[in-house]
Symmetry: C2
Subunit: 268 residues, 2 copies
């Protein structure tokens, strides 16, 4: 892999199931590194540890905010079977664990394999062409720097929050790609599902931030090259929690990932 | 706790973070113990280990079929914070690990607390009265014995599979309670989300069984006493996998749990 995401999520084995990585500058929101980016780094360690190329289902529990700097990832394999391997990782800085991951890894079909689609009760979100969507443009001082690491173009109907006029529905839809034509691997989908602005930004709620407790992603297939279409929705903001469900589709019209996260809704 | 489910899912500490339990007879389908039941057992060990009463989000990866008999559950705490504790467990028989769990535990609101409902974009499934629903009756030879451990009454529209005429939609809705008035704890919700017949039974697919790879449950609140209304749906049966999304509502109309599982769809 080459490219900025590949470099920023790289890990190297230092023996005894431990990997070393570095939380890169610029992958943060308000100083806290993006959870999908950190999950990708842990998943790369687990993929290497298990010798399986693709994440199939990966769950992360977030424990403490991660800042730029060196981290270690301790891994252990719970079971290595013929088709899948299940393993765990805890990513820590020099003082404490920051996140812990449980994942099953294997080998997924690629975008050029037709696959088998027995039930498809859903479709990619209806998006205008990328050029007609709202670019999360880091040249704009109100847009966090992470949007120079990923290219996101939102459905115009879902960009209201950026102009201070949220449309009301807890929804976020748009296009995603990595800059400079960097290849989208199956592991990069773990970033995609956490890279969009939060759904609640578009719901007119007295909620400023929603720290993620847990994020689970199912990867169904390796994405075909090109833009990905993603949609996120929160249906239940209750009892101090919300879920955000995501779907990611590649340009061939294939569902390549589903995600769900549980986040806290601190009372306003 | 008293009652059959409480007894069947009981664990006792044997020191060094290890718990002992027993997979009880009758909690199986075709000899393989139910995954929600096993997850509940592991969660009880984690709840005791962390000293937190309620599961908040629990993910299980299933490794091998569990049969009746003694098991051990090895636990470790990744982080114990003020509000939540995150911990891991692996449940094994005397030869191999059967499932591994990652969960965050805390204290949830109870059914009598009004809570805060900022967004509710969904509702309990429209179900006829329990007496007018289809009882999964273990007195019927075609109904597995596990349905004597749980009482499930299906929406008549979703019982077609039992008569050999699946309606076509990959959906399952119905009522749930534990027999003999046994109390439904927050931990019991981890059973509820995996106790219904599979959604694909109602889709006319060339699929006989769908082994679960991973099951994640978010528990939002402790359920009020009485019947629970649950609905399950699979929207994407593609590339050899399916997801099944569940919602569980208590009698006060509160969403008490959401679940998603990833299962294999062996080619027919």
């Amino acid at each position: 892999m080459t490219g900025r995401f590949a470099a920023a999520s790289a890990v190297r084995s230092v023996g005894d199931g431990r990997y070393a990585g570095e939380v890169a500058e610029g992958w943060d929101l308000a100083g806290v590194a993006n959870g999908g980016y950190l999950t990708s780094m842990a998943a790369r360690a687990l993929s290497e540890r298990t010798g399986r190329p693709d994440p199939v289902t990966v769950t992360t529990h977030f424990l403490a905010p991660a800042r730029p700097g060196p981290v270690t990832i301790d891994t252990d394999v719970v079971r290595a079977g013929r088709r899948f391997a299940t393993a765990r990782a805890t990513l820590a800085d020099d003082t404490r664990p920051l996140l812990t991951v449980l994942g099953t890894f294997g080998e997924l079909p690629s975008g050029t394999d037709d696959g088998e689609r027995l039930v498809v009760d859903g479709a990619p979100p209806p998006l205008p062409d990328p050029d007609e969507c709202f670019l999360m443009d880091p040249a704009n001082a109100s847009v966090p720097a992470i949007f120079s690491k990923v290219e996101i173009r939102l459905h115009p109907d879902d960009a209201g929050f950026a102009a201070g006029s949220p449309p009301g529905a807890a929804r976020m839809r748009g296009w995603f790609r990595l800059p400079d034509g960097e290849e989208l691997t199956s592991t990069a989908l773990l970033l995609v599902v956490d890279a969009f602005p939060p759904t609640v930004f578009n719901a007119a709620l007295p909620v400023a931030w929603t720290p993620t407790v847990e994020l689970t992603t199912h990867v169904r297939a390796r994405p075909a090259p090109g833009w990905l279409a993603a949609s996120f929705r929160s249906r239940f903001v209750t009892d101090g929690f919300l879920e955000a469900d995501g779907e990611v589709w590649d340009g061939t019209g294939r569902l390549v990932a589903q995600s769900r996260q549980l986040a806290l809704v601190p009372r306003g």
